[in-house]
């Protein structure tokens, strides 16, 4: 099935060559088997095209037209601490690990005081002679087979975090993983892989944020593997605000134990192309897993969320809430697959995807996919695509609010439905403030001429 589209793809070898010359590829401290398997899977499968069902609405051109320059060495120059302060969440207290161009920057990071037994370190620190061996679980929750990008990540990951929280330990302050790209060359690609384990009955909030300190069309390929044990509570906040030329590829995969609670948030604001894969394996009874996302796109941006929620145990609840606000010629893609195994009786799975289009040219493709093998389950899904509700606007104006204020209030409320699910108060407030500002800057929410008279 050779089509013009596939024939214009770069040769697979482009993505394989840097590996051959990289000493770490065979370094026994750096999971050579996982790397090799990643490389082989990529070699076999290659990059997906829009002929692949899972990539039907997401052309990879912004990625394939770039050269492939994996960032295998740390940058010569680090950003300053002041630059970090000005980033979103820059002033939050607590531990933070800062990765610059795919490598941990200890000078910018601080672990601070953590409860006894908590292990937090960069992979690069562990892989040093005499360091902690890398977790055997790497590659287990996001295997190279998940996608071409998970495979590339397995081959090329240069760093990441290992975070293990022992049983019955609550960490109140969010732990921040800050990913910054500074590389000035187009196609510079950072590959990071995190492993986070939340022990039985423990509690953890993690922010994973990605930003650019470069205008170049760089690539972030981020894999996060989660193991949430019985009765644990995890809140994961992904915040992606990279430059409008960037390509962001993220895969979050996790397994969740009995009676655990997880909130996995994805805020996609930046990048020319972003694809977020979320795979959750609900493996213990009575757990609750919330996937909650917001994408704001404009110009030529495309934001794609691709979820697979696997119910493998009875009495579990999964809720997916994704709202999109799309402007100009931008595009949103939502794909939510819910797989209910035969054992997963009394499953309660809910999925909603709502979109507001601020321009006639913006476009959304939304696709629910239910696959149910148990007979006593409740699964619902719904999707909407539309403009701001005219009746609501009129109601607000009839109470004295100007047209512009009314539109702002409604659009902010729409984003607020997602933001308010963030459990951690200071994180929620900062997101709320930032997103309100972004929306207020949007020229399409302003009224032409005088704001008062229309």
């Amino acid at each position: 099935m050779a089509s013009p589209k596939t024939s214009t793809l770069p040769q697979r070898s482009v993505y394989l060559e840097p590996f051959a010359a990289w000493p770490r590829a065979t370094d026994s401290a750096w999971c050579p088997a996982l790397r090799q398997s990643g490389l082989e899977h990529f070699e076999q499968a290659g990059l997906p095209t829009t002929q692949d069902e899972d990539w039907r609405f997401t052309p990879l051109t912004p990625f394939t037209r770039l050269p492939f320059r994996p960032l295998l060495n740390p940058p010569a120059l680090l950003p300053s601490l002041e630059q970090l302060d000005h980033l979103t969440f820059g002033r939050q207290d607590g531990p933070r690990l800062v990765f610059v161009d795919g490598h941990l920057a200890p000078a910018l990071s601080r672990v601070g005081e953590l409860p006894e037994g908590v292990f937090l370190a960069g992979l690069s620190e562990c892989a040093r002679p005499g360091g902690e061996p890398l977790p055997a679980e790497l590659g287990q929750y996001v295997p190279p087979t998940d996608s071409a990008f998970a495979a590339l990540n397995a081959a090329y990951f240069t760093d990441g975090v290992i975070l293990r929280v022992p049983p019955e330990t609550a960490i109140q302050t969010p732990i921040r993983l800050v990913h910054i790209t500074t590389a000035p060359e187009a196609g510079s690609a950072a590959h990071l892989r995190h492993f986070i384990q939340v022990g039985r009955g423990s509690q953890l909030t993690v922010i994973g944020m990605c930003v650019s300190l470069t205008g170049a069309a760089h690539v972030t390929n981020l894999v996060t593997e989660l193991a949430v044990e019985e009765g644990a509570r995890l809140e994961w906040v992904s915040f992606q605000d990279e430059n409008p030329a960037a390509v962001h590829l993220a895969t979050l995969g996790g397994t969740f134990g009995k009676s655990s609670q997880a909130w996995l948030h994805s805020f996609a604001l930046g990048s020319r192309l972003s694809r977020t894969n979320i795979r959750t394996h609900l493996g213990g009874p009575g757990l609750e897993c919330v996937l909650n996302g917001l994408y704001l796109t404009r110009n030529q941006q495309l934001a794609d969320h691709h979820m697979i929620v696997e119910h493998a145990a009875p009495h579990c609840a999964s809720h997916e809430y994704f709202n999109g606000i799309l402007d100009d010629r931008s595009r949103g893609v939502f794909h939510g697959r819910i797989l209910v195994r035969q054992a997963a009786q009394k499953t309660d799975a809910k999925q909603t995807n709502k979109n507001i289009l601020l321009s006639d040219e913006a476009q959304v493709n939304t696709k629910p996919q239910l696959e149910i093998y148990a007979d006593d389950v409740k699964c619902t899904h719904g999707a909407t695509i539309g403009q701001l509700d005219e009746d609501c606007i009129f109601y607000l104006r009839a109470r004295g609010l100007g047209l512009e204020s009314a539109r702002q209030l409604l659009i902010h409320a729409f984003a607020g439905e997602i933001i308010e699910r963030v459990q951690h108060e200071s994180v929620r407030e900062e997101l709320d403030h930032l997103i309100r500002q972004r929306l207020e800057q949007n020229p399409h929410l302003h009224v032409e001429g005088s704001p008062e008279h229309v």
Partner: protein, 256 residues
């Protein structure tokens, strides 16, 4: 004679090019309560929509003066800031917009327009809680999104709470009685009556006479096929209740 608040002259209005109002004349003075009654399809809701400024209703002839100004030249928000209030027949639910935040923003827009200082959160809460008590509405409504998961009766009471907070010069109540049980009707009417002042006017639009037992009008007008076909005192409402619209419409058709 006291000041004229609203003056409607020969108003014609259409929806989707279908004429609905065909020459309405009406004058409301300060201190007066007027009731507009009429069968379904007579144009009652169109009249309230035109007064509030809904864009899908086209005024094809006539004029409306409000407080001496040309009402039809004003955007809906300007009308509200000038003290015109429409209690909606079907208040819309606005997901995600907190009731307290919304009402405070509305009140402060109106206060700004009047040259009054803005209320801060504490001052606003004190004011709104007092008004809610009068309408028998629980305080936790303030924390909920506007009208979301409110019952029909709660939505109507919420409209009157808003009216009490915004203190309009002209209140238009569009079928406020629909969907209310008798107890709720009494509470809502008492709330509306308390807002009657020598300087304000109320226009009560209703299908049934029932509401007018509690909100007693000074004048009753009967709207039929887009025109006011009969005006009178409050006894006209009782007569309609006893004899039905059919009686009136029949007698109107035959010249006296």
């Amino acid at each position: 004679m006291s000041d004229i608040i609203l003056e409607i002259c020969n108003l014609h209005a259409s929806v989707e090019n279908k004429p609905i109002l065909k020459g309405v004349d009406l004058v409301l003075r300060a201190g007066e309560v007027h009731a507009i009654m009429g069968p379904n399809g007579s144009g009652k809701s169109t009249l309230s929509a035109v007064l509030a400024g809904r864009e899908e209703y086209q005024v094809t002839a006539g004029q409306i003066r409000y407080g001496g100004k040309d009402l039809l030249e004003m955007a809906p928000e300007e009308r509200a800031r000038e003290g015109l209030f429409l209690a909606f027949q079907y208040p819309v639910e606005i997901p995600g917009v907190n009731s307290a935040y919304f009402l405070k923003a509305a009140l402060n827009e109106i206060r700004k327009h009047r040259g009054q200082p803005q209320l801060d959160a504490m001052e606003f809460l004190t004011l709104v809680k007092e008004k809610m008590k009068l309408l028998d509405l629980r305080e936790d409504f303030l924390k909920r999104p506007v009208n979301e998961s409110f019952s029909g009766g709660e939505k109507k009471r919420n409209e009157i709470v808003q009216m009490a907070v915004l203190e309009p010069r002209l209140a238009v109540l569009d079928e406020t009685d629909s969907g209310l049980d008798i107890d709720a009707l009494k509470v809502v009417s008492a709330g509306v009556n308390r807002l009657k002042l020598p300087t304000t006017a109320q226009l009560v639009i209703t299908h049934y006479q029932r509401l007018l037992n509690y909100i007693v009008p000074d004048f009753v007008h009967v709207l039929s096929d887009g025109r006011i076909v009969r005006s009178g005192g409050k006894e006209l409402a009782h007569e309609l209740e006893a004899r039905g619209y059919e009686w009136l419409l029949k007698t109107e058709l035959q010249p006296a």
